[in-house]
Symmetry: C2
Subunit: 366 residues, 2 copies
């Protein structure tokens, strides 16, 4: 929990400046989000509407999602419900930068829609969404984007303190990983995602909707290339540093990412097993490693100077650096991501590299 | 709003390390707090209890108050209500450090009282308590300590951009301040405190209780020494830097603190004018500038090396430094607070320096 957060602040390596892939994912899921919000409003017609964004992170995407949700409700409502909006992430998330942007957010809301501070209340909630975060029956709509591929922990048998190195030279499921590694990852995901759905079942009112999107894979085989190749290349970059003594091989052997990219079937099975939600929509779609060309204008010139591989390295670095720093130390990060970027460039020369993203819309049953 | 926050982090000058006066105030008000919480529970017997701490700041005091409130409810309840606890401060407050301490807080709550994460929900709320922060009728108990003496703004006529310097050589009401300065401050306090009470009236259920404590004065005369002498000495320290060119006199003339220490009568009048609350208790008590000897053990050795004046300078610096930095720049802060500490030492040689603190307990009328 302490190491799983995006790079803080507004600097060169910050998540705030390097979240174009996640932005692209939000854009692609936009029409399904809109449908899911409208459906929740029509099924629950709340006077006071509880809304939560789980794994909100901090950066331009955080309030973009909330804006989209408010706009949808606004466009569809004769009488706006009171909005109770909760932004959730782990305690290490940079909530300060989210909160500092709220006064502007509120003043735009007033200017553009006449919604005042007595009609829309925004809360920060720090904690793991694999447990309870909200009072019973208090939520009408829940959103979570680019978060549920992070597990609550490294599968215990693969933990660096387990004493065994079952996944040598790798940091996630790889083609060479033994079957027990795949099973350990799948089991952890099943447990976590079940806990997630059960917690939300307690918190949501009947008829309430939830839109989830996160990294997945299209193949039933978890060691197939698509869905884990960024980890493969990161392991290669780390391994390339071993001969020079920059990294100890044992350090790589003992690291496994608390991450899992499930197949649509794996997700469907857990939702059905938990049993409180109806699945409206479950879709896998491809998204470029570069996140389309959705870079912010002010960063555009800088990005032009970087190779495509180095651009991808920046977006991955913003997300995984805190985890890697806690394991390898800060000193090697620059070198590591340069090598990683070069490997991505080579990979791009042979492949049209894609992430698989899953989008799932569900409704809380009566 | 941007400049009014305590010194962040955990460093030497941080509020977290220098909040002993505020801690002492919480200790003194402890029995009234307990009574007020119990009264709220008995009058509203909530199944789900909304609690808010307004101006929670960040540091050891933040969760101390919440613990005291939970302990009181726990000791008095056959069946614990669900707790919805909101921690509020301005958006610039260091919410990150509060949130990082929550996992330990939750785990102690479970260990000591068996209260789980599905029974106690903690929210962060960033915004000014002079406006609405919470949904209608959602709160059963409200607490605010050491916050309401901060105004929403410098009285406009005394603002540095007003073009006039009505309070030359001073930064708060002083014996030499013209009457219009006293009036401007009183008017701003009346407006702010009325807005505060009106906002809480909307948010609280009938029978709900509120405990407020903040700096005040015992004398009806706002320019009397007690209640503003720390500002007087700070102005003297600043003025002493003018001859050396470290500070421009015009900069001092144009600065006025967004602060007001009201008399008990001024507070009573506004509560009665607003009309939604019954006053149960209104008391003024003295508290030493040094906050008793309530310093934390780990700081004790360091503090022993400092004069009493320098110790006081540290507690005041933690609170007012961001405001002064935005006006004078960071460079002179060390020198300013050394001079201020020396002036406090001289003052101590003649006087038993006391703050006056007001404690007010009210109940939301039917």
């Amino acid at each position: 929990m302490q190491i799983l957060h995006m790079n803080k602040g507004e600097g060169e390596s910050s998540y705030a400046k390097n979240s174009t892939v996640q932005k692209q994912i939000i854009t692609v899921a936009s029409s399904i989000l809109e449908k899911s919000v409208l459906d929740s409003v029509h099924k629950t017609h709340p006077k006071s509407m509880g809304i939560a964004d789980l794994g909100c992170s901090s950066g331009p995407n955080t309030l973009t999602v909330i804006s989209k949700i408010i706009n949808t409700i606004y466009a569809a409502s004769y009488q706006m419900p009171e909005l109770r909006i909760s932004l959730n992430d782990l305690p290490e998330n940079d909530f300060n930068s989210v909160f500092i942007s709220l006064p502007d957010f509120y003043s735009n809301l007033k200017k553009e829609k006449g919604i005042g501070v007595d009609e829309c209340f925004i809360f920060g909630v720090a904690g793991s969404f694999y447990g309870r975060l909200f009072p019973k029956n208090s939520l009408h709509f829940v959103h979570s984007s680019s978060s549920l591929h992070w597990l609550s922990q490294v599968p215990p048998v693969l933990n660096k303190n387990s004493g065994k190195h079952l996944n040598k030279g790798k940091i996630y499921i790889s083609k060479t990983s033994p079957d027990c590694v795949l099973k350990a990852y799948l089991y952890q995901f099943q447990k976590d995602f079940f806990d997630f759905m059960r917690s939300r079942a307690d918190e949501m009112v009947a008829g309430g909707g939830m839109l989830l999107s996160f990294m997945g894979r299209s193949s039933p085989d978890a060691s197939a290339e698509v869905g884990c190749h960024q980890w493969e290349l990161l392991a290669q970059a780390l391994m390339s540093m071993v001969p020079e003594g920059l990294v100890q091989e044992e350090e790589i052997d003992s690291l496994n990412a608390p991450y899992y990219a499930p197949s649509p079937e794996e997700v469907r099975n857990i939702i059905q097993e938990e049993g409180s939600f109806l699945i409206n929509h479950l879709e896998a779609f491809e998204i470029s490693w570069e996140g389309g060309n959705a870079c912010d204008k002010h960063d555009y010139d800088d990005l032009q100077k970087l190779s495509r591989g180095q651009q991808v390295a920046k977006t991955i670095r913003a997300v995984v650096e805190p985890m890697l720093v806690s394991h390898f130390g800060r000193e090697i990060m620059g070198e590591l991501f340069t090598r990683f970027g070069n490997l991505v460039d080579v990979y791009f020369s042979n492949t049209e590299a894609k992430h698989i993203n899953l989008v799932i819309s569900v409704t809380r049953k009566e």
